[in-house]
Assembly symmetry: C2
Homo-oligomer: 204 residues x 2
Amino acid sequence: SIPSATLSRLAILYQALLDAKTRDVDCLSSAQIGALTGIPAAQVRKDLSSFGEHGVPGVGYRVDDLLASIARCLKIDQTRRFALVGAGRLGQALASYTGLAKMNFELVMAFDNDPAKIGKHAGDALIEPVTEMPARLKQEAIKVIVLTVPASAAQATAEAAISGGARWILNFTPAILKVPDDCIVRDVSFTNEFAVLAHYMEEG
Amino acid sequence: SIPSATLSRLAILYQALLDAKTRDVDCLSSAQIGALTGIPAAQVRKDLSSFGEHGVPGVGYRVDDLLASIARCLKIDQTRRFALVGAGRLGQALASYTGLAKMNFELVMAFDNDPAKIGKHAGDALIEPVTEMPARLKQEAIKVIVLTVPASAAQATAEAAISGGARWILNFTPAILKVPDDCIVRDVSFTNEFAVLAHYMEEG
Ligand SMILES: NC(=O)c1ccc[n+]([C@@H]2O[C@H](COP(=O)([O-])OP(=O)(O)OC[C@H]3O[C@@H](n4cnc5c(N)ncnc54)[C@H](O)[C@@H]3O)[C@@H](O)[C@H]2O)c1
Ligand SMILES: NC(=O)c1ccc[n+]([C@@H]2O[C@H](COP(=O)([O-])OP(=O)(O)OC[C@H]3O[C@@H](n4cnc5c(N)ncnc54)[C@H](O)[C@@H]3O)[C@@H](O)[C@H]2O)c1
């Protein structure tokens, strides 16, 4: 399998290529892709060859071919329907983010326990009571949830979603979730970005 | 220098060790650290030895020692003061996130161009008019900004911040920023997390 650091770079490439396509660009060299993404050209060539894409000398890579093969590699060529659990500040920001649709992730439902939010919308999804979540996930066969509840509610909410059939959890909370072996949790933390940034700052 | 994937793992280790310290845990083995973070024990040992930390056989690693050396390595042993530019949904979620203070990032000021938000707060920071930003950044010698404005406003806002002395930009917008050579931009995209998640989902 491909290491997650490579996958993460491929996702960045994919967004830059989508951008280029909207500007009617047909071909790009690895140097041009590097300039668009901030990824060194040699790393671009290495990543693309890891799934069989080699540019043509003097011409570069065809944008359409790269988009199709990266989408297959990242498995974003099929729509992934997901539910948002916790429609607060972060949940709302994610629900309205245009980048998700580009990656073929489709927000189909949202849940919260705050009566003031239920019946409103997060992006295009209606916010439903979290008590309905297990039955609703089953009804729509949703396997992916994005967890943006407070840390104190994270474990119980994840368990409720798993009882409704969820198997993939993108966990934005700082809680470390304990889930059965057939579930996959991916923890997201922007604070890692801060830490990485801090490291590269020169002394003092 | 240490690759950013290793730094990112060290940041995850750091948060798990802080957690353990609040539970009065003195020592942890690489296997226990692995169970807490989801990082394989062998990778934990490799990462820690890359900056000279070796556990004691049968005892493991001392939590306090690891916290101090990871903080030095990540350069989070000194407080980094930053400004938030764009106090919308995402900006507010970041401003209120307790994880930032743990990484020694201190939000000191916030800016927006929406009159309804100016004078309110994002976390503990007062939201000020973005027109004041260059002068205010200079006055407080702020070098780090977190950019959470709409993509259409990103480039101009980044340039205004740079004119005020900002040199480090954590860019949450999908815009690709063009900045002078002495500035560092780190692009953050949760959509990469979705793409990595999609790749690991089994077929169909
Ligand atoms: N990963 C990171 O770096 C990062 C950054 C910012 C925020 N966060 C985390 O994301 C989460 C959300 O942050 P936020 O700023 O959006 O908080 P918020 O308080 O604005 O949103 C939380 C939402 O969850 C709802 N909720 C509470 N308990 C619930 C339950 N049992 N079931 C369903 N919904 C419930 C609340 O009504 C609210 O709408 C927090 O856990 C926070 O720590 C993480
Ligand atoms: N990286 C990701 O994966 C990801 C996820 C979600 C959102 N985003 C991005 O984060 C950004 C913010 O998203 P959001 O949901 O918080 O949007 P939002 O509309 O809620 O917030 C944007 C804020 O910026 C302010 N603003 C607009 N123009 C400004 C200017 N010129 N100067 C100062 N402030 C200005 C607005 O008044 C608003 O408060 C967007 O660019 C969005 O695409 C990225």
